[in-house]
Symmetry: C2
DNA sequence: GATCGATGCTTAAACGTTTTATCAAAATCT
DNA sequence: AGATTTTGATAAAACGTTTAAGCATCGATC
């Protein structure tokens, strides 16, 4: 039956002008508290829902935030997104979300679409090969944006991520402490900044103990179970010597588990394995996987906070936040 | 530098009126192909991004769809959401997403906010205790909506879910086939329709073979690892006899694994376990878990399709789609 | 050569807000 | 009592689109 209730019907119902209704509901002008009460009552009884398209058009203010992620089905990013949404929602914002699948063209296209939809700003996990130039269109529109997780060195935006170097150090230190002297590293791509830093951290920590990670013991690959299985298998077949295996993330570690089992190595005894991310799955592997917790929820929360602050015009310098990872020691090491 | 480029600047740049630009870009009016070309060129060089707030306000048409989910961090719903987003995005729609955490008040509030933001329609996984009345506000606004996964018997909307009864039958049949004669069921709440149907399916299949599921072998609880652990432990302590354990979902099964291991039972030998959902984790458990795949991605995809069809005014009767589950047999049974 | 129908484009109103400028009435001050 | 300020409300313009209606121009038709 299409009951169209706009600010106009509220005005009529309350016996005042539309301007008064707008002012009363937003608490802005000088409206007597009696009138405010009456207007609110009318709005409630009519079931008035303000049309944000109209208000955004007129005022330029928006209650929408754009969340651009490479893969929302990946638990790490799903958790991050969930906390962005939670914090946004607490502050009256709604989240518009889009997957890029690490496709930079898709990323450009969704950013444009979101600008058209009038988002107030962006929270972005940059797709592979993104550069600061990629986000020029956002700056052209004077919108704030926060980059997460992947640091592309964009000085014009806030960055919230975790400290990959320290994460790498933690993994390596833990293994050295457990008495390991020979190491391998599987998964991740050299083109990804997170990968390089993590690897640097590992090498740095090993070097402190006079140990090394030989080049033939580092296997690159898009992080996945399949790559973990294939590369670890290959590594074992190559005859490389190692008693400790560091996996780029927990997915890779799951694949590595399979390869190691096939090769007859006993995880936690013959060979130690450590992963990154602390996905729920890691706890229920057999044996449970030692991993580095990277706190995606905290990243989501901080990002949302940073963006909303920026939207509200807090104009400090851009911040770069690196959250400290934490070692979760389990029986795989 | 705030370069505001609206349809107006495009018009000036192309030397035509705003109306012509609008018509040319939407391909609607009678505009010569020369003019269309020129307008498109001007729009491109100026980097024109149409303001959807304005167009929605004027035309009433929207390219936003509202996705309301109880827990987006849960892999099942994350996958569902990912496919909704993918299909929406393919059709030029953007997804606005919100978590309800199964809180019906929060659900009502996000639905209202989304209506205010001008979504074209909704895809909803109804929060616990939702009834058709819950969605009256959507119908009042003449908007289409599709309900997913949880069937609340709303005849005024499409429903896309999976066939819980058959899923229960499959689990039970599989176990009977493997020679089991005594059964238990852990996790899920009687207040949830999906739970009841799944359990009915199990009982129905068992009855066909002259077998039963005694009441003292059914343990309710909000599905989670913790409940799986606690209830299975309790069940074992109670001295209940069973060689086959059906878990409400894979999370519960993970908890059950721990309880069974603690009790010294060998999974896949002394006792068989089957779960539902086929979360990635289930494959890497030890032993790998037999489970029922429920195809969340297909549900997401179908839902998006149904909604977009409805938005485009295809006016058939509402459809109820139950996707067939599939048994994934692994070594836990 | 007047009439007609396409064709191609424009004018202007409308969508539902917000906000500035304005105004009347009431309260306060000389 | 008259001047001034404060209070409470309103009228109207504006935001960037879409779209119905209108208006030339042109070619074809009688």
């Amino acid at each position: 039956m299409g009951k169209k209730v706009s600010i106009r019907q509220v005005a009529e119902h309350a016996g005042v002008s539309v301007a008064t209704v707008s002012l009363a509901l937003s608490g802005k002008g000088r409206i007597s508290s009696d009138t405010v009460r009456q207007v609110k009552k009318s709005a409630a009884t009519l079931g008035f829902i303000p049309n944000r398209s109209a208000s955004r058009l007129r005022s330029g203010r928006s209650l929408l935030i754009g969340l651009v992620v490479n893969d929302i089905a990946n638990p790490f990013f799903a958790e991050l997104s969930a906390d962005v949404e939670a914090h946004a929602s607490e502050n009256g914002y709604l989240s518009v979300i889009a997957n890029t699948n690490d496709d930079i063209e898709k990323q450009a296209s969704v950013i444009e679409t979101m600008i058209g939809q009038g988002v107030a700003g962006f929270i972005i996990v940059p797709a592979d090969t993104s550069t600061p130039d990629t986000f020029q269109v956002i700056r052209d529109h004077d919108m704030p944006y926060v980059l997460c997780v992947r640091d592309i060195g964009d000085g014009k935006a806030d960055f919230i991520g975790f400290d990959n170097f320290t994460a790498g150090v933690m993994a390596a230190e833990h293994l050295v402490e457990k008495g390991h002297r020979t190491f391998a590293f599987v998964g991740g791509r050299l083109s990804v900044d997170n990968f390089r830093r993590r690897l640097d951290g590992v090498r740095h920590a090993l070097a402190r103990h006079g140990l090394t990670l030989p080049d033939n013991c580092v296997r690159e690959g898009v992080p996945s179970r399949a790559i973990g299985l294939a590369e670890t298998g290959d590594l074992l077949a190559s005859g490389a010597e190692f008693t400790a295996l560091i996996c780029y993330n927990d997915f890779v570690a799951v694949g590595a588990y399979a390869a190691l089992n096939q090769a007859g190595r006993t995880i936690g005894e013959d060979v130690a394995v450590v992963g990154f991310d602390n996905v729920p799955e890691s706890e229920s592997l057999s044996p449970p996987l030692t991993t580095i917790e990277l706190y995606p929820r905290a990243i989501g929360n901080r990002s949302a906070r940073a963006l909303i602050d920026a939207v509200n015009g807090s104009s400090g310098p851009h911040e770069r936040v690196y959250l400290a990872p934490e070692l979760i020691s389990r029986s795989s090491t």
